[in-house]
Chain length 334, copies 4
């Protein structure tokens, strides 16, 4: 039984807490949140203690930590976890400042501690299905890849201003996904975008509608289209096209209901939001992390995966500003 | 080049005439219709002669006849074609009076003349697809079969009164189809039905909404549901369920257009009518008939197929009236 | 917080126990199972006590009981629950002996205790979707209904022998479903069936492949096809056809993955079994029961619903044996 | 009745000849082909005369010409048609040399003769469906557009060398389509591509796998992905994403056949080639042209549409070579 301490008792913290309780191999021992009332509520429901400070956690007997607090606390908590020798499951992103991320990657360089960055789409059954098909050779050599990534509506402007922008906040999931699906690190990116949905997003220096093309070392090409608003809900679809066929992780409908009426068939459309669509993956990520903590050989997104996705996002912004393709240069710790 | 004489220049006659003109192996030589103006119009468009009487056709050098005149003329024309030694493509049904049909089958008993009854659904690409799958063994031994057969709207009451009723007029296509798909002649039928769409249909002694169950000698079961009116258009779907899988000839959508809007996906629904849905099959039937006339070994619906479908329809009406399952007894010419 | 005592710690008992733990409004206080080891294991995981006897539960302060023990204990436990005034959530069937069921219905006649029978399909999102569409008037007046119900493989023969047979064990879910979807009690049933999958099932006096037609008071017709084995997994689909359109609760695919290769598109098929397909409904049923216990007006399957489904099953067996349609006579407590 | 003279009796010429014969408003009077045997065969089948020279056609009483001869003859024949005052339906492209195209546009500048360039996809029912939806306002203001365009296999190398390359030969259809669907002329294009399918295509100076992004004056973005080879057949799909929804002209399956077997559903995939997929459009194009010749107000692709598509193709090649986005400058006749 893996004993967890968890940082953060907000919306996503409650999900993690429930999953830790539900998983047969884990239990929640401590919860810490600067919002003490939230921490207490979650602790009560899950039979955990409220930690009076992070220090209480680092010196406790917990087997692992789950970091679901606000982004600006991730780097410091990861640093403490590494020092304390506690495996860590950290929500993405690691930090908006890429130098902070490199710093953490450097600190973790000589440890074998499981540190997982929460790119939960890697655990989606549909995406896993096309990855498996590709790895089985079902579609041959990869030639083209397409990712559709559309949120139902833009976040509030206040959030957009501190989010790092569309590529660091939204597209970043797919920068990770394309690496994970293909096993390749892209070498060049071209990004175009505009604030077509809300002029205020443009005035805040960001874009809300983007198209990108990335090149892989193998010669394969990848297209991403990304919107902050789809009237019909959360839309995510991925296509891998290769020399012997194509694999699609299709738009997932909300339900399998169809009404035939007049000249039309009216079927259920998309999920209302990313969370409803991706909710089952959180349990799967936790399960992978628990296996890693228990010493099983298992695959999960690492700190370096988190860093690489952010490096691609930086290059995408550079391309957007220059209106030309940009070479992507990765970074290695010493 | 097969020279055709055609009886009938109405709606379906024009379709046959155009297909004879379009087919590289055939040409239209004569056309006969009691409506001389219609015959002349079709003859002009297709470069054919108007026959002054059926006799002119039977003594001409035409290689084959296409009978697309009204149902009550079919038996007599088939009888003449047999005597004249002219291969015949005859629209269904052969005759509403089953004794007349037996009579024709008896007359044709000792001839090898190609005589084709126009069960065009046997030539539909989708239905052919599931038949092939079944014959290939893809679904193993047949256990259950389902047929959905729904017209967009009832014919006018005047037609219903002379049509022979739902089973002899509409369901009959599917009595033929189930024999053709399975290679078995059903041995028992249970039919229930009611006039749910229009009480006047009930007053005329007919039903408009029916469900049937048929048993095959192999033990397999078949369900048919049949409606004279589907608000959303012409609906035809067939499912073969076997020991190793299932094959479906799916509802065919009018177009592959989808609109994602709000919570729904609005896609194109069914075809407006059976003709729009089945139009391509008429050319395929003609092609099979031409091959048969040219002496190629080819498969097509015969007079005996026409008779058997009608025998099943008779048994279905008997079941409907008695509200109990009825054994089906077939008939053989001497 | 509703305190639960649960009877049964087997496969389905573990599911119920986990859902009681996960639900924010409930907790598991007692668990009873004749298999004490199983009871102890579940109690430990969920923080509950093992009851030394059913009596300990009836005299405890629990707010409700969940009966997930073997079928032959249901009637007695329900009887005790009624006497003890404890709301009960009982897995189906109530009892294989229909007189026992009537007896329980009679006992519960003058109580307002929430007693829920576990017809979980009533809580499936897809089925709820077509029910809503029908109730909204989207498809007009109901005329035909189709239910496809196929299990991936037959249960072991030993189970079949004590299960009550295909209609009392498998089809019964759909006898309930058709009442729930239409709001009508069928008045006549015709059933045909055979042991096409395994001759031993036939030798045991049962069938494994069936087709049924039921008539509703409104004149609408309902077809059910039911197989104990679908090579491709668990298959459940429901279609409501009415005067203004059709609503389908479609086959639910396991995943939304498609591989385009050669001439085919290979997509994910059905779920491996009913449990994987229906798993989310168990939480929904529990939620409805908790609401009922808390006094909220909520809809759920009652003892009388359980009885009516069994009465239809009895009539279906009578029809199967007699090979003729059978009138269905319901029963009312005094 | 519109009398046609046709240039070209090859594969596509036979299709046009059959459609002229089939259309109720047209007949084929003359056929010219440098391959006299081919001309004679088509003339015989369709009841037309073989013209001994193009001049015989220009001085004849034909109402219109259909130019389906080899590309290098199009410009000269169009020039003659303009001088002779004969409406012309010309297969695309007008000429591989863009200056020749401008020359023809200039010559046609002061005529009102119907001159149609054969971009047949404008007449596809599915593409028309999403155009209608967009024009109806169903998807609001356009923001993103996606075109998938994949041929089943590359043409022979000898053809590729004279074809003008992937963008002038294959992608050009979609440069026209995006203008037609959106009503906007793109202002910038970025193209990346490689010879991933066959190195010999690269050695011949061309690419076989490409991704492009185009910008519209409205700010909307368009992505095209284009391959010379899809293992699974001909693949064409178009998506319009707007402020209020999305419209998709979906991949059209060859048939509506599905086999459920084991864990999979195996359905019919794509058409074997563009011709099988697009065949019905040729009749529609001819019908539009006949209407135009008869003086009806009707929409069809013009010489200027042909020129604009080629101008975009030129800019795409410039972008491919420079690996940077290129502004598109259109041209107007004096």
């Amino acid at each position: 039984m893996i004993k967890f301490a968890q940082f953060g008792a907000g919306f996503i913290g409650k999900i993690h807490g429930a999953n830790i309780a539900r998983h047969p191999g884990s239990e929640l021992s401590y919860i810490y949140d600067v919002n003490t009332a939230a921490a207490e509520e979650l602790a009560l429901k899950r039979g955990a203690k409220v930690a009076s400070s992070p220090e209480e956690i680092w010196t406790s007997d917990v087997d692992a930590v789950l970091i679901a607090s606000s982004t600006n606390t991730h780097a410091e908590l990861l640093s403490c976890a590494i020092k304390a020798g506690k495996p860590a499951y950290c929500e993405k992103p690691i930090d908006l400042d890429i130098n902070m991320v490199k710093n953490i990657v450097q600190q973790a360089q000589n440890t074998t501690l499981p540190i997982l960055v929460g790119f939960s789409r890697r655990f989606d059954a549909n995406h896993l299905g096309i990855r498996q098909a590709f790895q089985n050779g079902d579609i041959g050599k990869l030639e083209m890849m397409h990712i559709t990534a559309r949120d139902p509506k833009p976040p509030v402007l206040a959030y957009i201003k501190v989010s790092g922008g569309q590529y660091r906040d939204q597209t970043i999931h797919f920068f990770d996904m394309l690496r994970w699906l293909t096993g390749e690190d892209p070498v060049e990116v071209y990004a175009v975008g505009a604030a077509l949905i809300d002029a205020a997003i443009g005035e805040a220096g960001d874009v809300d509608t983007s198209m990108l093309i990335l090149k892989f070392p193998s010669g394969a090409l990848c297209h991403i289209n990304c919107s902050r608003r789809a009237d019909y809900g959360y839309d995510e679809q991925v296509e891998l096209f290769g020399s012997k066929g194509m694999a699609i992780s299709r738009r997932k409908p909300r339900r399998e209901v169809s009404i035939y009426k007049g000249e039309s068939v009216i079927s259920d459309g998309a999920y209302p939001g990313w969370f409803e669509r991706m909710e089952p993956t959180f349990y799967q990520v936790l399960d992978a992390f628990i296996k890693a903590v228990q010493g099983e050989a298992t695959e999960y997104p690492t700190l370096m995966d988190g860093l690489k996705a952010q490096i691609i996002a930086e290059a995408a912004y550079e391309s957007l500003k220059a209106n030309k393709p940009i070479q992507i240069t990765y970074w290695q710790p010493e």
